[in-house]
Amino acid sequence: MSDATLNTSRAAGTQGPDKQAAAMGETGKPVAFRGGGFAPRSPKWVGVAVFVVLIAIAEWGTRTGWISALTLPRPSDVLATFQELYQSGMLFKHLGPSLARLAVGALIGVSVGVSVGVLIGLFSYVRAGLVPLVAAIFPIPKIALLPLFVIWFGIGEGSKYALIAFGTFTPTVVATYGAVDNVDRTLIRMGQSFGLSWWSIVRKIVLPGAMPGILSGLRISLAIAIILLVAAEMLGAEYGIGAYILQAGSLYDLERLFAGVVILSVLGVVTSTVIGLIERRVLGWRT
């Protein structure tokens, strides 16, 4: 009993026990299944269907008068407005400046934001000095400062860039220094243990390591940039999607208002998709 004995049975060939079990099977019952669930998948067509149904309801409601013309424009009219806009060539006349403003403003805001964020992530004094400042600036509504922006940056493109840059700056800073804080410290210690220079560590370990966090911050920053487009184009903009929307709003022209809003919404979805693609390319190393 105190000795172990070696009872080995090659299982590959032996079907014996299996048959035996099957024979005894009347007293057994299969084990109940209780797993699964909690892993929602999203079949693409459902999303499309939801949009189609919503639009159909709006169309039907406005046609039958069940939804008053004051409340919602007729989707088909919005589409017609959009076509008109496209055919008159005005679409690109509005889209062009807006995209330029988005690009320049967001570029400034994001690049300054990332730089400041990295500095905050690396240096104690910068962190101590700027974090409270950023926290105080964050909740300031940019539209409240519109009159000042005119004085500070003029009514040309400058103030529009500045407004968008300002709006994207704060969320980028917050996302970036959070990302730098989250870079795995063992990787940094590894760099140090191999005698890498400070600058090598920042360039080769800290920055790539912070990239996922920075990119996901970019999603938010760019959404905010699009939202701020309207505010920016309150400042003496002739053309631009924001200006178009504002003008439509001031004339209470719901068709054009919605056409403009749809453009912004599409712009937002496109931006987010593009960031998704960039993430998949640049962050292919993530598990």
Partner: protein
């Protein structure tokens, strides 16, 4: 090549003076190379003058304008749109609900709500002067944007409002609101909009400023004679509307835009004359309401040396 200047404008028919002067070369004749800068609202335009981004503009007198004048940044140098008897001016509107409930006349507005864009805006001034004249009390609802006020009055959430005719008439046509009076009945000779510039331009750039006013006045004269005195007949009006259509309602087809433009016709002061009495009244109102500093004087606001002063 003339002196380069920038002129601020809104895409409203009330800015036609500048449009005509630019399009027909009157500014060029006066030796100016004018670039029009368009704005979505009047207030940023005033700030833009103060910051030196634009040189001249036309807009209503507001608290912000007076504030900037007090800071020594801008000066009113002439008059533009004016309420004149016999010509449709700003209309007083009542919502359908209020109208059905018996508000058929401004005198019945007691206790009703009156839409304004902002506290201390020109709408606020007009509304409170109406209330004063009728001896009634109204509540003023600041809704920031003209579009928001339109929405509010259409859906009956405010009872009354005043607005330029080209917006008032189509609204009334749709049956959602009713015209119950005209502003000129209460404020005859109301200097609705004024021409203004930076204090620096007014003081140091006399030639340039005079040249601008000269060009502007010619444009105004053309506009008045064609649209109000109808000197060119229908053909003239058509041609003028076409000109204005380049700037106003540009994205609508001409046929749709024309009625709106024609409806918007109001007299613009010949020679940018300024009705000083009206301006003084406005300043007084802003001060009594505490919207601007009590120490602002009419001289802070107006430079009377450029145009004919009436009233």
């Amino acid at each position: 090549q003339g002196t380069k200047i920038k002129v601020g404008a809104l895409r409203f028919t009330s800015h036609s003076g500048s449009f005509v002067a630019k399009d027909r070369g009157y500014f060029a004749d006066a030796g100016l190379d004018v670039e029009l800068e368009f704005f979505q609202a009047a207030q940023p335009m005033a700030v833009a003058i103060a910051s030196g981004d634009i040189d001249y503009a036309v807009t209503a007198i507001s608290g912000g304008l007076i504030s900037l004048a007090q800071k020594g940044a801008i000066k009113v140098i002439g008059g533009a749109l004016i309420e004149e008897e016999g010509i449709d001016g700003q209309q007083i509107l009542a919502s359908d609900a209020a109208f059905q409930a018996g508000v058929t006349d401004p005198s019945k507005l007691g206790g009703k709500s009156y839409g304004v864009t902002q506290t201390g805006s020109s709408f606020h001034y007009v509304g409170s002067r109406i209330a004063q004249a009728e001896g009634i009390e109204m509540s003023f609802k600041p809704l920031q944007k003209v579009g928001a006020v339109v929405g509010a009055i259409k859906s009956g959430q405010i009872d009354a409002w005043n607005i330029v005719p080209h917006i008032a008439k189509p609204l009334a046509g749709s049956g959602a609101v009713h015209i119950i009076g005209a502003v000129q009945d209460y404020l005859p000779g109301y200097q609705t909009t004024t021409v203004f510039t930076s204090a620096k331009n007014a003081a140091d750039q006399r030639d340039k400023t005079e040249a601008f006013l000269a060009g502007f006045s010619k444009g105004v004269a053309d506009y008045n004679s064609t649209m109000i005195d109808q000197s060119g007949g229908d053909a003239g009006i058509d041609e003028m509307v076409k000109l204005i259509h380049q700037y106003v309602y540009a994205d609508r087809p001409f046929e749709k835009a024309k009625p709106s433009i024609v409806n918007g016709t109001m007299r613009i002061n010949e020679g940018a004359k300024l009705n000083m009495a009206s301006v003084k009244d406005q300043l007084e109102w802003f001060q009594s309401g505490g919207y601007v500093d009590a120490s602002v004087t009419i001289d802070d606001l107006v430079d009377t040396s450029y145009v004919e002063i009436v009233g």
